[in-house]
């Protein structure tokens, strides 16, 4: 069931003319993915794996359509090469909405392992990264998406368990 915050996120994508989205599911992102899928102004093409999603987004962008990827932080281990040699090398703006599993409030112990590497990977790649811990921070989402286009880069929004709990 989508929450008010899920709606705010998708409204923000639409307001920024993001018309192509790809996703690999995460429980925390279920409401957002549902809304993206049913949005008449967004073409939603689910990916099997996040690097495939980066390819889809790069193609859509070159076709004149703003795109974004919705994914879980564990997949940052999958997409390092795609971010470096495709998205960054060709200077493609790409907002990444990432559920930040493994932070405080996480119930699955194994998720913590990748959470420990999440900001380090994004930092190593010099990707502008914004950590959302409360739904009030959604007021910055619009500027963050615009920032991706200003700098021609991927930008990451990490939304952790506290964020999703505050959004319930």
């Amino acid at each position: 069931m989508a929450t008010e915050s899920d709606r705010r996120i998708v409204d923000c994508l639409v307001a920024n003319e993001i018309k192509f989205a790809t996703s690999v599911p995460c429980k925390q992102l279920a409401g957002v993915i549902d809304l993206v899928d049913s949005s008449p102004s967004i073409m939603h093409v689910p990916s099997n794996k996040e690097d495939e999603g980066m390819g889809l987004c790069a193609g859509a962008y070159m076709g004149g359509t703003q795109s974004c990827i919705i994914m879980q932080n564990t997949a940052l281990g999958v997409v390092v090469n795609s971010l470096a040699t495709l998205i960054q090398f060709y200077r493609i703006p790409l907002p990444m909405l990432i559920s930040y599993r493994g932070e405080i409030g996480e119930k699955v112990a194994c998720q913590v392992e990748m959470a420990l590497h999440t900001k380090a990977i994004l930092g190593q790649l010099h990707i502008p990264t914004y950590h959302f811990q409360h739904c009030d921070q959604l007021e910055h989402l619009d500027s963050i998406i615009k920032h991706a286009h200003v700098c021609g880069k991927p930008v990451a929004v990490l939304a952790d368990a506290m964020f999703w709990r505050s959004a319930e």
Binding site: S47, N48, M54, A60
Partner: protein, 190 residues
């Protein structure tokens, strides 16, 4: 025929068309044979050629041909299910299947052994899948483009590369001129 011969034979068919070309030798050979602004050369990122091609085809109306290799498709095999389930009739996936990883020293791929990429594509739900000889590739590609139906072509050719220079274009130049051409084609159509 090796990949270079296949590319040479399809050059007249793909002239002026939007092409997304696989990393390494395929892009270098295409650059040598037919450089044009409507070619997007992949300089990195093994496996994503078909994904970029599909994203591009879904986002705009011009015909898109992704020139893939068997090794590259095997790297991102699930792409065939995404292609099957997101029908883009302006998209043609041409897999030049030489049964080897050409850019890295012609090590054999599983597509050159027991795995049939055409059968995998069919099992993934791709409706029109054609496996053809290297010699028939140009005519099958022409047929696919005029059918205006999403088609996967698996062109079986011999292993081998031609010694051509690396691509010295800046990636942003490749992208910019490619996007310029996409826009021009869009304006021409309307």
């Amino acid at each position: 025929m090796i990949r270079y011969d296949v590319l040479k034979s399809i050059a007249p068919v793909i002239r002026g068309k939007l092409i997304v070309c696989n990393i390494g030798s395929p892009s270098q050979e295409l650059f040598d044979l037919l450089d044009q602004p409507s070619n997007f050369y992949m300089l990195g990122t093994m496996g994503l050629c078909s994904s970029i091609g599909l994203g591009l085809a879904l986002a705009q109306k011009s015909q898109v041909i992704a020139i893939e290799g068997d090794g590259s498709v095997l790297t991102n095999l699930a792409t065939l299910s995404t292609i099957a389930n997101n029908q883009a009739d302006n998209f043609t996936l041409l897999i030049i299947d030489n049964g080897s990883y050409g850019s890295t020293g012609d090590q054999p791929t599983y597509a050159g052994r027991k795995t049939s990429l055409a059968n995998v594509a069919r099992a993934c739900g791709c409706d029109i899948v054609v496996e053809c000889s290297a010699e028939n590739t140009a005519s099958e590609l022409e047929k696919a483009l005029s059918s205006r139906r999403m088609t996967v072509i698996v062109s079986k050719c011999e292993s081998g590369n031609v010694d051509v220079p690396v691509i010295d274009l800046d990636p942003c130049v490749i992208r910019e001129r490619f996007m310029g051409e996409i826009k021009r084609l869009d304006e021409t159509r309307s």
